[in-house]
């Protein structure tokens, strides 16, 4: 017989209520032994849960959903008990113990296994199923959580509208290729160009909203990095508003990374403090060495790198050279925000003339305003933090107007980014001399394929169907 599974179904942590869920082919006996009552299906019943020696463990609302009318399609037992990690763990352990007693094969559920069973039993529709497929492949709790987030209605509606426009453009172009002798409007180049431009602009807008949504949903991973003793941990404590990391004047105090989630303008920010980066010489002890390795790992995974620099050491060429070296090792695709710390050691005119002059000369003029801006702060005296917070928000593309944001997944953001890029290429193709329309069509096909990864497949047969319904074809 198929094994039954059990797990704590609510998020870990303190809460007023916590739910233990059990699913399996036959749970009626377990329910009886647990509650001492014959439960009415799908009715909430208040029960005293007792352990095997009859001692009351907790009072709980118990629901029994006999198969197939349950989430998983199997018998499902839900125990809504008082929250709290320890008491729920105890309850779960008790359920497992009891099952052993009555020889019911019951084990802990893997992440996502309830949903997996639901879908194998035909309880989920196809759109949900895709998320589930991700879920089954997901290894960490974090990815399970992100896979669980399904597509929100408004977003898919908007993408649907844009896809329809895309289909319209492709229909025009493909009909012109496949039926050159038909009387399809020959002056379509202008229509096509303006269609591509309009669509591109609209997609860019959706992309912005989607990016914001993804930030809101999944948060941003900000890694604080820099040489030892530049004040990284002090900055973490300042941004987090509490003393999480030990700070001292001794270089290399932070040995391992420390993570903390904070709210910034309403979106979640995961701050990661790392061990200071320095050359791996003999003098460094093995533990710090490991810490530096982990720092680089954290930097690889960052959505944004806060590169903290000690403004008081800018007269030291060795220090500057080391900073430059570190900087070149960052992934070119990860945004970097430079933070000049310890400005409390200077007066404002010194900062203005010395530091800014130095910064300005090092930054290429064509890289935009964002990269040229370094934020001057003092983590210790907590000055400049407001500015830094705004700069972080700006750098990750967060805007304070949160109206109409789409709750989307990262992969949707990537798909939209690619689609916009292909449309840009299509536009360039059309504007260039000797443009070959087969290449423009290829760009549109690729852009369309990207949108289809969000909305679902669109075959060449569908495209032909569209052509035949819109044009009178038939030589």
């Amino acid at each position: 017989m198929k094994e039954s599974i059990a797990a704590i179904a609510t998020a870990p942590g303190m809460g007023a209520l916590g739910v233990v869920r059990v699913s399996g082919p036959a749970l009626a006996e377990l329910a009886l032994r647990l509650t001492g009552k014959v439960l009415q299906p799908r009715y909430a019943t208040l029960c005293r849960l007792r352990d095997d020696i009859g001692q009351v463990l907790d009072q709980a609302i118990v629901l029994f959903f006999p198969a197939p009318y349950s989430y998983t399609g199997e018998d499902v037992l839900e125990l809504q008990a008082h929250g709290g990690t320890v008491s729920l763990q105890l309850l779960l352990a008790h359920v497992l113990e009891l099952a052993k007693l009555i020889e019911l094969p019951l084990r802990l559920a893997r992440p996502g296994e309830f949903t997996e069973r639901a879908f194998l039993n035909g309880k989920l529709d196809l759109i949900q199923a895709e998320a589930v497929a991700d879920l089954i492949g997901a290894s960490s709790q974090e990815s399970v959580r992100s896979a669980n987030r399904s597509l929100q209605g408004d977003f898919s509606k908007e993408i649907g509208l844009l896809t329809a426009q895309m289909v319209g453009l492709r229909t025009l172009l493909e009909a012109n290729f496949d039926f050159p002798e038909e009387e399809i409007d020959s002056v379509y180049t202008q229509d096509l160009l303006s269609g591509v431009q309009t669509l591109q602009a609209q997609l860019a807008t959706v992309l912005r909203k989607t990016q914001q949504g993804a930030i809101l949903r999944e948060g941003i991973r900000v890694v604080i990095s820099g040489q030892p003793n530049v004040g990284k941990s002090t900055l973490l404590n300042a941004l987090a508003g509490q003393d999480l990391a030990i700070v001292s004047d001794i270089a290399g105090t932070t040995r391992d990374r420390i993570e903390q989630t904070v709210q910034l303008f309403g979106f979640p920010l995961l701050l990661v403090d790392t061990a200071g980066l320095r050359e791996q010489t003999e003098r460094i002890d093995p533990i710090e060495k490991l810490g530096i390795g982990r720092s680089w790992k954290a930097i690889e995974q960052a959505d944004l790198i806060l590169f903290v620099r000690d403004a008081s050491r800018f007269s030291d060429p060795k220090y500057l050279a080391e900073d430059d070296k570190i900087r070149t090792q960052f992934d070119a695709n990860t945004p970097v925000l430079e933070v000049l710390n310890k400005v409390d050691l200077f007066d404002s005119s010194e900062i203005a003339s010395g530091i800014c002059g130095l910064m300005g000369s090092r930054i290429a003029p064509d890289r935009g305003v964002e990269t040229t801006t370094a934020i001057s702060i003092s983590a210790k005296s907590q000055t400049g933090l407001d500015l830094l917070q705004s700069a972080i928000a700006e750098k990750v593309g967060w805007r304070s107007t949160n109206e109409g944001l789409y709750s989307a997944r990262r992969r949707h953001v990537f798909a939209l980014q690619s689609a916009v890029a292909y449309l840009t290429s299509a536009e360039e193709g059309m504007l260039s001399l000797n443009s070959a329309f087969d290449l423009v069509a290829e760009d549109l096909r690729l852009a369309h394929a990207e949108l289809c990864t969000i909305t679902g497949a669109f075959s060449s047969e569908d495209l032909l169907g569209k052509i035949f319904s819109e044009f009178c074809i038939g030589k």
Binding site: F177, D178, F437, L464, I467, F468, C472, I473, G474, K475
Partner: protein, 658 residues
């Protein structure tokens, strides 16, 4: 009686599929029998007298690269050549030929008669001989002669239980003037192969002497420069060096003299007449159950569906040099004859036209191609192959491509060799086969460039580069073609190499010239190949740079030049496509177990379960291309495979083919 000689391959049907199948098998050295009900109709064009067109021209060039005869016959019979989409990019460029029916038939007949190992016999086929119940081993002719062979290729076209409709009257027929093949159809029905019914149609044919061409717009083919002559009323034109050529082995000298087509239009009076016949239309009264093609609707269908359109274009196409018969393309109809006559007479230029043959619609049986294996052998009966219109396709070109494909595979199966398969990224033939066996047909299937996701690399201009070598290995390509191909291929690779190794920069090109040609002066050194990749530059311009110092030493053939230029210009896009092909390859090589129980997969929609169960794709890649199978379905399928104890099956075993 039993015919004394036993053949390797028996091909039934002498249309475009049958002739290419028989010729291909014979080229490979197989003893081949071609059975036709009438030797005189070998290579007959039963619909409009033209070869090629968008997507179709691509197929013809592929058949040609594999040694097939359609392109070279078109070169010998073509009375008007055009390159369609010439300004829209090489991937969608396609050749179309107006052919003289008599010359075309003669060109095909000549090649069949000259082909070694090929035997022709005139007699219609009544039955298929089976060995052990599920293996074809021969056929029985109308008069009871038994022909035995290792494999049978059936190319029965529209002849299976064909029914011709003109108005409300209808009669049996395979093509106007030819009998339908009833016995065979009944026999195949007994074999329980899944069947459907399709419809196609032709327009009435007109006597050109009764057309007032002064009221029509004249349309010459490409490369013809004799407009002055035509103004005097002379409808022909001597052939010209600049007229396009279809076959790799063809040339413009092969072409007969060139003639124009004419364009006229329907009008509101025509539409009124057509509407008045709706109540006697076999289409609208339900007499015809077969489904017709959406891209080739009858004129009554066009009037009905696009009521707002005030006129429809008609191409008046000459059927040949020695006939006055004109094919009015665009007004296929099955309306009653009195309506046909009135509608023709309402059209400008056709007021006094005499109809030589009435238009008609024909309904015919086809076999659901999802019942075929990837090599076109039927799943139900081994060594029995289906090719051409019998598989639900339309068009000479689609038929020829399938014929060649089935012919080669029939030889492979008799020799016990692996099936010969083509991928979607290799050829339009691969797209055609894959679409048919996985998606089936819901209307007569016609090739379009939009069906090919790898369109940029499946061009007419590189069909030879893609397939000649494959054809040579199969034994399809003779020494003459192979030699000529190698000359071109070597020239192309040498020149490509030279362009990549030749550097142009400020030191060897005047800045005034680089400003003029490239818009701004060259800052550093570029290879000629890099410069050629710029959209504003073509090969000829490069060769003229610096007074010709960068030109090739030996004069490069026009076609080789073109190949070098296109290959370099499209390199970026094509390498991106190749990445996609590689990514897809994992899916393509993930084999689905034979015994997988799709019907038990409750998470799949019922439609998806039934489709997968019916078609039983061999790989996940194939499953993904079945219509109605979404990416979500594939995800679910993968989960079932993982969870269902099929892990072992999911290793990269590669395809075992049939």
């Amino acid at each position: 009686m039993r015919y004394p000689k036993t053949f390797d391959v028996i091909v039934v049907g002498g249309g475009h599929a049958g002739t290419e199948a028989a010729l291909a098998a014979a080229r490979m050295g197989a003893q081949t029998l071609l059975l036709t009900h009438n030797i005189e109709t070998l290579g007959a064009m039963s619909c409009n007298p033209s070869i090629g067109g968008i997507g179709k021209g691509h197929l013809v060039k592929e058949v040609d690269a594999l040694g097939g005869v359609m392109a070279i016959a078109a070169d010998e019979a073509g009375i008007q050549f055009r390159v369609l989409n010439s300004s829209k990019g090489p991937a969608v460029r396609a050749t179309r030929v107006q052919a003289d029916r008599v010359l075309y038939k003669a060109a095909i007949r000549k090649r069949i008669e000259q082909q070694a190992n090929l035997y022709v016999f005139q007699q219609s086929v009544e039955d298929i001989l089976l060995d052990g119940g599920d293996r074809a081993c021969g056929v029985v002719s109308q008069s009871g002669i038994q022909f035995f062979g290792g494999a049978v290729v059936l190319t029965a076209g529209t002849f299976l239980d064909g029914r011709i409709h003109v108005g409300l009257s209808n009669f049996q027929g395979g093509r106007a003037g030819d009998p339908a093949s009833i016995g065979l159809s009944a026999r195949l029905k007994e074999l329980k192969l899944s069947q459907g019914r399709l419809k196609t149609g032709t327009p009435p044919r007109i006597d050109g002497r009764t057309i007032d061409f002064s009221k029509c717009e004249r349309q010459w083919g490409d490369g013809v420069d004799c407009v002055a002559g035509a103004d005097t009323g002379d409808l022909s034109c001597p052939t010209n060096q600049n007229v396009p050529v279809f076959s790799f082995m063809g040339n413009a000298q092969m072409h007969p003299r060139q003639v124009p087509c004419w364009i006229t239009h329907t009008n509101s009076a025509t539409h009124e007449i057509i509407r008045s016949g709706f109540d006697r239309s076999p289409m609208f009264t339900g007499k015809i159950e077969g489904i017709g093609p959406r891209y080739c609707p009858s004129i009554e269908d066009k009037i009905n569906r696009f009521a707002g359109k005030e006129e429809h274009q008609i191409f008046l196409e000459p059927e040949g040099l020695d006939t006055h018969e004109i094919y009015p393309n665009g007004i296929s109809t099955s309306l009653p004859f009195d309506i046909q006559l009135a509608l023709i007479h309402s059209i400008a230029g056709l007021e006094n036209a005499h109809i030589l043959r009435p238009g008609y619609a024909i309904e015919y049986d086809y076999f659901d191609p999802t019942a075929l294996r990837p090599n076109f052998e039927t799943k139900a009966i081994r060594h029995l192959f289906f090719a051409g219109q019998i598989n639900g396709t339309t068009g000479y070109e689609e038929a020829a491509a399938q014929g060649l494909y089935a012919g080669v595979n029939a030889v492979s199966v008799t020799r016990g060799e692996d099936p010969w398969l083509l991928r979607r990224d290799q050829a339009y033939m691969g797209v055609l086969v894959d679409d048919l066996i996985l998606r089936g047909v819901s209307e007569p299937y016609r090739m379009f460039t939009s069906r090919a996701e790898y369109r940029l690399q499946l061009r007419e201009d590189n069909a030879d580069m893609r397939l000649t070598e494959i054809g040579r290995k199969l034994g399809l390509v003779d020494d003459a073609r192979w030699g000529a191909f190698n000359v071109k291929r070597d020239a192309v690779s040498r020149e490509t190499e030279r362009l990549k190794m030749t550097w142009v920069g400020p030191h060897n090109l005047e800045s005034s010239e680089s400003e003029r040609v490239f818009g701004k002066k060259l800052e550093h050194e570029y290879s000629l190949a890099e410069l050629l990749r710029r959209p504003e530059i073509n090969y000829a311009q490069l060769m003229h740079l610096g007074g010709g110092v960068f030109a090739a030493q030996t004069n490069l053939h026009q076609l080789a030049q073109e190949q070098v230029e296109i290959a370099i210009k499209y390199e970026g896009y094509i390498s991106k496509q190749n990445e996609n092909i590689l990514r897809a390859a994992a899916f393509e090589s993930t084999v689905l177990p034979e015994n997988i129980d799709y019907l038990a997969m409750k998470a799949l929609s019922i439609e998806a379960r039934q489709k997968l169960d019916k078609i039983r794709p061999q790989t996940v890649g194939q499953a993904a291309r079945i219509s109605g199978i979404t990416p979500a379905t594939i995800s679910i399928l993968m989960v079932y495979l993982k969870r269902g104890g099929y892990e072992k099956a999911l290793t990269l075993e590669g395809l075992d083919g049939a």
